[in-house]
Point group: C2
Chain length 211, copies 2
DNA sequence: TGATTTTTGTACCGCATCGAACAAATATAG
DNA sequence: CTATATTTGTTCGATGCGGTACAAAAATCA
């Protein structure tokens, strides 16, 4: 380890003796997320993040480690958010087509959650670029996609068993198409396509997927 | 214009009086493409490009303008390549499923064309990140996607007329799904998924799309 | 109160970045 | 051969970058 100072893990408030921190780590992470979301990893400087969070660079460094570690933390939290959104949508006992639309509506709620123009998907907008030269980001990307595929596949399998899909339907193939639809929505959102149009596309795609 | 020197358009060899250029513009553009493809726009420096092309920065600047203009040129050429690949695949008079697989095989031939690991799609890997804050890139992205949608839709419409698809099939919806499948392949390639596995996914998806 | 501990904020370092200035080099035109 | 036009290659400058050193600030413990 490089640091030999007496301190606990980064980000954990020891709640002990020292000067209290003047920022909320959760809020700071959300601000950092927004900043990376807009500019990407390479396109965002630590000064940008410092300005967005209101923190200064040494505090950032002490709290979250270097820029790369901070990005990985933000990426991991985004995945958790995305997984949770999908699980919620699929948890309710809705007809297949409605359940799928819930998933896409949940995704778009995230893609359009910022203040300015639609940011699209954080992963598609920032991680995909870095994945090629960064093994940790690449592995996170691959794992996240597999999780989405698996979530859809489970739902399609159930749908087939319950007669919502034809017997000869291929749940794995349909799952990849469902994930693909998320990806294209994410890309199109970043390309400036309006939300209503994306919802239209999603709706048509759901019709096709559900046969 | 900023420059007032006596010269013709950038990149055009006047074939006139001066010292001849010691590089081939086409080759240089290809090298620049590879460099941006790997590192993204923000993640690639002019020095990286100078090293890759063997040119020095003033020559780069004189030939292609600044980094942004060079990127736009590279992006535009990539689109032309992608469009051509798709047109070729759909031009031959093949059955629908085979034609679609030709498109995806053509795309993967591009995504895996580099020396090292798969770079995926140049657009998905580099333009999507910048699109949010760069109107020219965003517009190019939106226009390119529309072109792909339209290309697929035309083919699906013909397929429906010729009885390869059911009468009630929706060519526009199928086209979006076909484009979506390209997008997910591009993303997965960058995530390190091997080519054989991607081809499997594409094949299954084609089955679903063709009904 | 005084010692201790932790965070803050300023200032800074070394390096990379984009872009430009400028002279040397190399061609053609007359 | 001389003048002109264009490209090359070195060098430079101003700024931005990620990351850090260090002292002041603000809390708790004794």
């Amino acid at each position: 380890m490089v640091q030999k100072t007496t301190k606990t893990e980064p980000g954990r408030s020891a709640r002990g003796r020292g000067r209290p921190r003047s920022y909320d780590p959760e809020t700071a992470l959300r601000s950092a997320t927004e900043t990376f979301w807009r500019g990407g990893f390479s396109g965002t400087s630590l000064d940008d993040i410092a300005a967005a969070t209101g923190m200064n660079k040494p505090s950032l460094y002490a709290a979250f480690g270097d820029k790369h570690a901070l990005y990985l933390e933000v990426l991991s939290r985004y995945w958790q958010l995305a997984f949770a959104s999908m699980r919620e949508a699929l948890a309710e006992d809705l007809p297949l087509d409605e359940a799928l639309m819930r998933v896409y509506d949940g995704a778009m709620a995230i893609y359009f959650s910022g203040a300015g123009p639609a940011q699209g998907c954080f992963v598609v907008g920032t991680a995909v670029t870095e994945a090629l030269e960064d093994r940790e980001i690449r592995d996170s990307l691959a794992a996240g996609i597999r999780t989405f595929d698996a979530g859809f596949e489970t739902r399609f399998r159930r749908a087939r068993e319950q007669g919502e899909l034809k017997k000869e339907a291929d749940p794995a193939a349909l799952a990849v198409l469902a994930t693909a639809m998320m990806h294209t929505i994410a890309i199109r959102a970043r390309a400036g396509i309006p939300r209503a149009e994306l919802r239209e596309l999603a709706s048509k795609a759901v019709e096709v997927i559900c046969g």
